[in-house]
């Protein structure tokens, strides 16, 4: 396809306004044209995204953040299942050959996780740009690996962290007031006991 025609279609695509026929033409051009204007596509995609900046800003209610956190907490099983599903086809058959390794379940689990994590990390490690900026991130691959490997722990940790950062001060004050109330009750109990004894003694005399 001619470059100019491709750019004309790109202009419509970034505004999400391509008809079916044009969408197919552009799709085909992306697939087969070696000189497809990818750079221009990127420029127009950025331009379309800039349009939002011209709008007057609005803010959602602050409680929405907690709602989002709750939604993420509720999907912990889904993420775990997703990671498990990814792991299954990666299990190396070699491990099954050695009976000793089968007995050591923890070890096998650890081994089978490794290829999956490599797969997940690979798109990150090819990024030259990010590699330059955050070499320590990439060199901490093993740290990231352990995070994903023990995803159950990670989910729990994530939730704990969230609760810690959002509810810890409140919990602290509740704990303190409980302690205070306990001491006051003890004192009151002791006073009541003394009064009963005094009344009893007075009654006897």
């Amino acid at each position: 396809m001619e470059k100019k025609k491709a750019i004309d279609l790109i202009k419509l695509e970034v505004l999400d306004c391509l008809n079916i026929a044009d969408a197919e033409t552009l799709h085909l051009s992306k697939e087969v044209d070696s000189d497809f204007p990818w750079k221009e596509l990127g420029e127009y995609q950025n331009l379309a995204a800039f349009l939002s900046v011209a709008l007057p800003l609005e803010f959602p209610v602050s409680e929405l953040k907690d709602k989002v956190a709750l939604k993420l907490y509720n999907m912990r099983d889904e993420i775990k299942a997703k990671l498990d599903a990814k792991r299954k086809p990666e299990e190396p058959p070699v491990l099954i050959e050695d009976e000793k390794e089968i007995i050591d379940e923890e070890f096998i689990v650890e081994e089978t996780y490794v290829p999956v994590i490599e797969e997940e990390i690979s798109p990150l490690s090819v990024s030259g740009r990010i590699e330059q900026k955050r070499t320590e991130e990439i060199s901490a691959k093993s740290d990231l690996r352990s995070k994903v490997t023990f995803d159950k722990e990670l989910v729990e940790k994530t939730v704990k962290e969230y609760f810690k950062s959002h509810f810890e001060p409140e919990l602290k004050s509740i704990r303190n007031s409980m302690k205070r109330n306990f001491v006051i009750s003890l004192v009151l109990f002791a006073i009541s006991l003394i009064l009963i004894v005094i009344l009893f003694v007075m009654g006897l005399t």
Partner: protein
């Protein structure tokens, strides 16, 4: 939290790829005003707009492996994702979209497909260009602004705009192409 505050958007995405909840919280704090503004423009109803915004962050958490770390264009990925999700929610409300919302549907229709050669932009950088972008928008004619509004913010397709403005589809196409082309010229010139 203060540790992630100093990170770039791309670095934050990298941390989210390791399921770092604090990084996601930081991304939420940074992008929420802009994304909520965009979603609210598309869906004026407050509760639905908030629901869509929360769904956007759920998608980011679930589909972080679909983010292209080689180009690392967080800004355009986030904005396009929010826009796609909001338009989809709007079209479902009015019955324009009835297709079941599955993972495949989400991958195909909601997750952005950015050019592999796209230049990386970050929120702070774009906010710094706010005046330039507003100026470029102001330079467009009312008709040009209106067709962009109808397509990008109202999600109308070519035939929808043609029907609304009572003009041929070919005219809609050329108006949109001229409008976005002029906008590009203005912004490139000021840059």
């Amino acid at each position: 939290m203060s540790e992630v505050k100093s990170l770039t958007d791309a670095e934050i995405m990298l941390k989210i790829a390791g399921y770092d909840s604090k990084a996601l919280e930081q991304l939420y704090d940074r992008y929420t005003p802009l994304l909520y503004t965009l979603i609210k423009k598309i869906i004026p109803e407050k509760e639905t707009a908030e629901e869509v915004l929360s769904e956007v962050f759920v998608i980011i958490w679930r589909q972080i492996d679909h983010f292209d770390f080689s180009s690392s264009n967080v800004y355009t990925w986030m904005v396009t994702l929010a826009r796609n999700k909001a338009i989809d929610a709007k079209n479902r409300t009015i019955g324009k979209v009835t297709e079941e919302y599955t993972d495949d549907y989400e991958n195909e229709k909601i997750l952005p497909k950015l050019s592999p050669e796209i230049e990386s932009v970050e929120l702070e950088e774009v906010l710094g260009m706010k005046e330039k972008i507003e100026g470029a928008m102001k330079s467009l004619t009312d008709a040009q602004k209106y067709v962009i509004e109808l397509s990008y913010f109202e999600g109308l397709d070519e035939s929808g705009i043609a029907e609304k403005l009572k003009i041929p589809s070919s005219t809609v196409k050329s108006k949109l192409q001229v409008a976005i082309g002029n906008l590009m010229k203005k912004i490139s010139k000021t840059n």
